[in-house]
Symmetry: none
Subunit: 221 residues, 2 copies
């Protein structure tokens, strides 16, 4: 749940917990994006008015990163545009404040159910696996420790395994959307990753598509 009004956040938090949900709470947009990128949730409750990044922006960033967790937006406004905006950006439902707690619970249950075939919490490519919740990477049963940046890059590649992704896309999603430094960082970090996940195993999961970008081999290389 992403909500900056403390009283409301606290009430809803307690209520949802009592209703049997396991709730994680963040209070601003930046942490929301971070948390949603690093963990896997059944559903996200997202306020529109937030410090740092507003709800629309958070949703936009998440979808751009290929994160399709169902999102229920909370809005104080009730204009027609607000709703359609939210739906356009990929929100799955919305509620207008003040809302009934029972309605919130019912909607959340509906979203979770609709989500259908559960998402894999563990991304795999051949004998390479990445457990998103535990933040663990293994190859051939052996655990591999990665730095945050290396992990971010690998997760991105694995979420797009089989696709060729450009360095620009990588920079925008693993670094900062406004990254302005040398794109060579990507090459450097690809190298770091290869040293950890490919070289010791005599494989090459990360392929270079010259002039295009990189591609993670779905079979692990």
């Amino acid at each position: 749940m992403v909500e900056d009004e403390l009283r409301l956040a606290d009430t809803v938090h307690r209520g949802l917990t009592d209703a049997g949900f396991v709730v994680e709470l963040v209070h601003d947009g930046e942490n929301a994006v971070w948390a949603a990128t690093e963990h896997t949730y059944d559903v996200i409750v997202l306020d529109i008015m937030l410090p740092k990044l507003n709800g629309y922006r958070v949703l936009e960033l998440l979808r751009a990163r290929g994160i399709w967790t169902p999102v229920l937006m909370l809005t104080a406004k009730d204009g027609e545009y607000d709703q359609t905006d939210a739906f356009d950006l990929g929100a799955d439902d919305y509620l207008t404040k003040p809302f009934s707690f029972l309605v919130l619970v019912a909607r959340l249950r509906a979203l979770i159910r609709r989500g259908g075939p559960e998402r894999p919490v563990v991304l795999t490519a051949g004998d390479l696996s990445l457990d998103v919740a535990r933040r663990r990477v293994e190859r051939n049963g052996r655990e591999i420790t990665l730095t945050p940046r290396e992990y971010g890059l690998l997760e991105f590649l694995m979420r797009h395994r089989g696709d060729t992704v450009s360095k620009t896309e990588i920079l925008a999603n693993v670094w900062d959307p406004a990254f302005e430094g040398d794109p060579n960082v990507v090459e450097v970090y690809v190298r770091y990753l290869r040293k950890k996940i490919d070289t010791p195993f005599a494989r090459h999961a990360i392929e270079t598509i010259r002039g295009m970008g990189y591609r993670l081999n779905p079979e692990g290389g």
Copy 2:
């Protein structure tokens, strides 16, 4: 189970039996109330559309009689009011027809677990154990005394054992959701904890995941 559509009743009956449930089947509201009053069930599956007494009415009567057996309602409708009505009346969950059989089984298991024999109150990780009800922590049979804050931190880590939890999450859940001080407190308290639960036993249950947060080793370190 209370269900008047014979084909559906039969299918679900067989399926639940196969899944290991002992199922009793009645076909209308009056028999439902009678059966629930005379017997004790782990959980009641209740259709809304029923002859003689509809599902809402059945639920209302049961609750009025002090019968708090968990109830999962089945509904063909999907309107907001139907859902909230069901929750208002004391239903513990609901499913909209058509529903997935696996989902039904999962929800029933959840209801039985939630209402029935109490959850395990003792969290363990290797030889480290935390008794939630008694606020007692032991390692290797020796009791360890913790301050409230230390205890809160350890309980949080143990509830998420195996997962990597960030300092932000820890602050939001162990401190205050609105905590605004120095996140360094977490490091300080991790240190206090380690001094009490790890150092004396030459173990390290609490692992640092640099750049990410902390992780409690499920095996105790």
